[in-house]
Symmetry: D2
Subunit: 409 residues, 4 copies
């Protein structure tokens, strides 16, 4: 169980870290400051400066071969293992824009995997190539208002067959990335057989994002932020027609696609969240060493030594758990790795939230203000406790796996 | 130690609760939706509709005598005790706009207390009457960039004597309420004797908010929100002249005024935060009863029963602690009540944050979106863990009080 | 809601505290050191010295009128309210032997309540008088091996009618106090109608402890201790005959008696556990002030200030919750007070365990050794998390009470 | 960073696990039941049956080559790495007697390391061979009453030079294993130069346990248990003479020896505690599946799924952290591994205590009684939070290591 940095990845990590620190971080703030400055006033249009920043940074990354790392176990990318990718994802997690620059950002990576693994040739040609090149972006269209996402079998958005087409009607929301004007592809789960067995009711469709009949009702807000231009959109589909050939894998096999998609995605989120926690702990330590009260640096006051020690211990443990889950995926497949993926999906965001919260507390008011990135880290991490399954569902999975050891005997 | 609802307050609580539920809550959302709709585009200008809403609601409250409850132990208001006020504050905490409607909102209450307790006649005439009538608002100008607020003796904003005037120079930030165009009064702490003994360095000034030389640099953001039109402003003072008579209580007595001001304010914050927690628990229970997954209402899944029970147990305890701190203030004065005030200042916001966080988690994505008030509750409560002293400083106070039992013997 | 020390109780508290500190505590250690020194070698026989200590101390208490405080709302004792008794119980909790000295110890208090409330005249005459006088002791015989006590309806110990007698067969264990040779009375719950409705299956019997056919199988150990001479015995009943007149309240009404018995008992346990927590915090503070490491008193190292502050905050809250539960019992009866009793039954032992654990940690090895009373406090408190219902069952009660607010509407 | 089971260890783990389960566990209970049955009545004498059990089991282990695994990186034992040993230690942790059977128990392993690494030839001949053969046992004599062990520089037990001898005077306590009549060797730290620099004051001596002038004052109790016949003895040294040649490594180098000794020992304790946690979780799951209340198995009630999942997640993480610390020791030495050793020294006992506590709670009264091994696990684990440095000291070490990243730059 080698969980370490291999030589080839050590080198890539160094390059990525350096590019994140010296080239991406300085432009990240400018990129976000541009939001809302499009002449149209539309926060979901990218300004010329935003497009330039993206083009410049992505160009550099591609040129240096720092691109599509997430394509694990594949002949297309670096052929990295998930363990190897973990170390890179951690670095990319430290700055908001970084993952996209290396073409490693959600939801594109998951969507590319769907196309790569289950897509037909024409789908790959139409969308996968451009996604791999970072030319377009994509969205994954699953969550519905009015349905507890933890129990996906309840999803009710309807697709009815009509000749060789399917006609889609209903609402979907929290569609991350659907705000971005570059988003060209939707991968959408619809209920095609409401009376079928629980896991055969749904079908996965691919379609152009500008298919007629799709309307953006509003951006969903995350702690008051619209996350423009990426966005988490609330969409309404009215009689949207999609040809049958746009079905992925086959009618009624939506769950199978969804499951295959989620494993790696969950790991990637966790890896990045560990990077965030490291960043937050670094900020905390530096602030604590340089800020004084009562004649002492803050680190020497109150329980700050314990806070720092606890943070370090929890980060180390979460990272190791994440690496083990990645190693399980690499060596035994997503299905066997499931209990470990669930474990780390609970552990990593909770841990990161705690570390960021402690950093905010040590910074005082500054820690929740625009003067540090901590608040944005926190709100982003908070969404991870529901995204791809709430904690409660993952804990349930872990407990069941544990109990099976004694009931299957 | 009577911590219960007295008869007269039971009646007032019923009136306040009813007005909050049926009259204020419905307009609260509309009020906030108006932010940014002023013709000037300035988020810190109130729209006509906002002014109407305030006038209408405040008018009703005043007419019904639901006004200035916070004036405890005074012949001006209802003559309530702090314990009695606690029950009212809890109700007012449940909806954002409510406290202002009853003229019980921070920082005005604290500022009015300063004027009432330490102010000279001309100060009362100029500002206190209008504040008590709810005609103007005010700000408390203390926090400085670059100084750990936990150690207020470090505050360095400078006031130098020049003839009969004082000349103020420096920056202050997180000045809550200073964004509101109705804010007419600043109560400001400045360093007048940097070389004096630790608690004699500072002096408290009162002044008109539009005194020449004061510039708003920017609003401080709380988790990305500017909290307009109230705002938490970053101000720069350049050669601002204030006459000597504007000093409160006396030169070098700033700390004394600040201490007197803070006790009740901290209690009020805690009381309102308990109201928020009650509101969040109510939302959690209702959602958990009506939303289903895996064929059961959410409350019957996972650890939700325990989550609900723990929330109830922590709310009950925090409320009782708050009431005891209030009772200590009522019967033994702010100074003797200090350790209890510190206790509840730590306990109540932490408890409320936990309850709101659990509610967000049960709601899933909806819980952090604009579709519930939970996110706003959370970000507001998060600020209370620094405001009026960070947790660490209050824990230190509590520990010292405890140890004194054994060292003073 | 007066939760304070009334004048009359203030006086009693002072007397009890003084007697505990100066008269009981010094003999408590000697009493426990005598265990196992009976000439027979039997740890469950009291030595002459033990009997002397008890006689001397109980005599003094009785003479001073410090006796049977727990008889709340009664014309026999002091006529104290439960709130008033709470303050006394806290003091008695601080030293192991204290509660018995004032004739306020479990399980006698609960058993006396059963007799007082539901017993017939002959029962009172035969047992109650002597219990009230502290001449005999008693046991409450409910728990069974093989049955989860949390669901008392499962209790299966059998009583069959045979003529005018009932014949009892089965095992009972964790029968606290049944080791004591002075234990003269058993109050026992048996299943008399296994097919009846859930809460009508059981009947409560009273009987002499030396009734023929009862055998002590072994003492149950608590963390390796037999708690001699009190003991928690495992008993076997073989064809034990009890006359019908020994039934309390009526056939099939065992649950009713048990419920009536448990409310006050739970509160008393909690009150005493708060006394233990206070004692542990006192030990912690004194040790921390006087022991040094790295040139500083321990309190100034690590997170000790926070540990002390948190302990104080949790003790205060738990005490207030306990007082509120007591007040609910006093003013609205045991049934209405149930959710509060459940709350404090969860809160107080958990809190006390935490405080004692922190004290042990600060003391290092000494904290778990015979050189401090902390280990015995901890093991005793640990049993309270199951005794009279495990935490999980009480949390469930609290959650249900909460949800009823929304489902009964 | 290979943290996995290597092939050779996989095989050893299987053998050890099988021997623990089928041969040691059944005799472990009998061995402990024998305590106190020596004809002399002395609990610190081994009975014939105890000696037989040890001889039989140790004989089998030795014969099968399951012996002295802890000799990592050595040509004498299996030449295992610390990572490899970790997996074996985990198995040995599950049953109390197991570690001794494989000659892998504390404090012998640490003492053997001292002799192996720092001992002179005559010391090895006299003691090491017999220790490696499991013929004798040993004690490590460091802790003193009256001194906070966390700051070892304070240790004051005196050794004065007198001719070619040193004369030792003072008390030592918590000397684990010194109760065992087979204990033949003491490794003792004494203060030889009270005025020297902090880390040069102490010297390490080796001596026969029966050296004249050593008196056992009493066994220290752990939660009321004397842990006979192993014991944690309180010793008094009166004019005990030890020749100069008995000094290890050199005068004033006691700290160096102590530091070298502690690293691996701490890891071993943690490894075994993880085994205990696994055992406790197994007991919890089995009980929860087979015991019913309210018509359901306990696992389906309350928060038990979450409790199980949390236990699994924390065990996994602690194990990985332990393995990483072991790997650091293997690849970079004890000194470089120090922060990781400190981390796991805090994490593993806390985690194990939590899991055992949850298991006790689910078992109810049975969980703290003699009918399950849980209480003994708990009290044993509780000592680990002070042994070899209290949590607070290790957290301090971890925090300092973290802060050095920013202050050394």
């Amino acid at each position: 169980m080698d969980l370490g940095l291999t030589d080839r990845v050590q080198n890539l990590v160094a390059q990525v870290r350096s590019m994140v620190d010296t080239e991406i971080a300085p432009l990240d703030e400018e990129y976000h400051a541009e939001v809302g400055k499009h002449p149209s006033g539309d926060r979901f249009q990218l300004t010329d400066r935003q497009l330039d920043i993206l083009a410049e940074l992505k160009g550099k990354a591609k040129e240096r071969g720092l691109w599509n790392f997430w394509l694990t176990d594949s002949d297309k990318g670096h052929g990295l293992s998930t363990v190897e990718y973990a170390y890179l994802a951690e670095e990319m997690g430290k700055v908001h824009l970084a993952a996209e620059i290396f073409n490693c950002s959600a939801p594109d990576t998951g969507n590319m995997e769907v196309l790569e693994r289950y897509g037909e040739a024409w789908m790959k040609e139409r969308w996968l190539t451009r996604l791999l090149d970072g030319e377009i972006r994509s969205a994954y269209v699953m969550t519905e208002p009015g349905v507890a996402s933890s129990d996906a079998a309840q999803l009710a958005f309807e697709a009815r067959k009509d000749g060789d087409d399917w006609v889609l009607n209903g609402e979907k929301y929290w569609i991350s990335g659907a705000g971005d004007p570059r988003c060209a592809l939707y991968i959408l789960m619809a209920c095609t057989a409401p009376d079928a067995a629980k896991h055969s009711r749904h079908t996965m469709f691919v379609m152009d994002a500008d298919t007629s009949g799709i309307e953006v009702l509003r951006p969903m807000h995350v702690f008051g932020q619209d996350d423009a231009p990426h966005g988490h959109m609330h969409l309404r589909f009215t009689d949207v027609r999609v040809p049958s050939k746009n079905i992925v894998l086959g009618e009624g096999r939506g769950f199978e696609v969804a499951q295959g998609r989620l494993g790696p995605g969950r790991i990637h989120h966790c890896m990045r969240s560990i990077g965030l926690a490291e960043k937050a702990l670094e900020l905390l330590c530096k602030r604590g060493l340089h800020r004084e009260a009562f004649g002492k640096p803050l680190v020497e006051l109150g329980a700050n030594y314990d806070i720092i020690a606890n943070a370090r211990m929890e980060i180390e443990q979460a990272r190791l758990l994440c690496l083990k889950a990645a190693w399980m995926m690499d060596t035994q497949g997503t299905r066997a790795a499931q209990p470990w993926i669930s474990q780390v999906k609970v552990v990593a965001p909770l841990m990161s939230l705690k570390v960021v919260d402690e950093a905010m507390q040590l910074f005082g008011g500054t820690g929740i203000s625009q003067d540090t990135p901590l608040w944005r880290m926190w709100t982003h991490l908070r969404t991870l406790r529901f995204a791809d399954g709430p904690d409660a569902v993952h804990r349930r999975q872990v407990a069941r796996a544990e109990l099976r050891k004694y009931t299957n005997q």
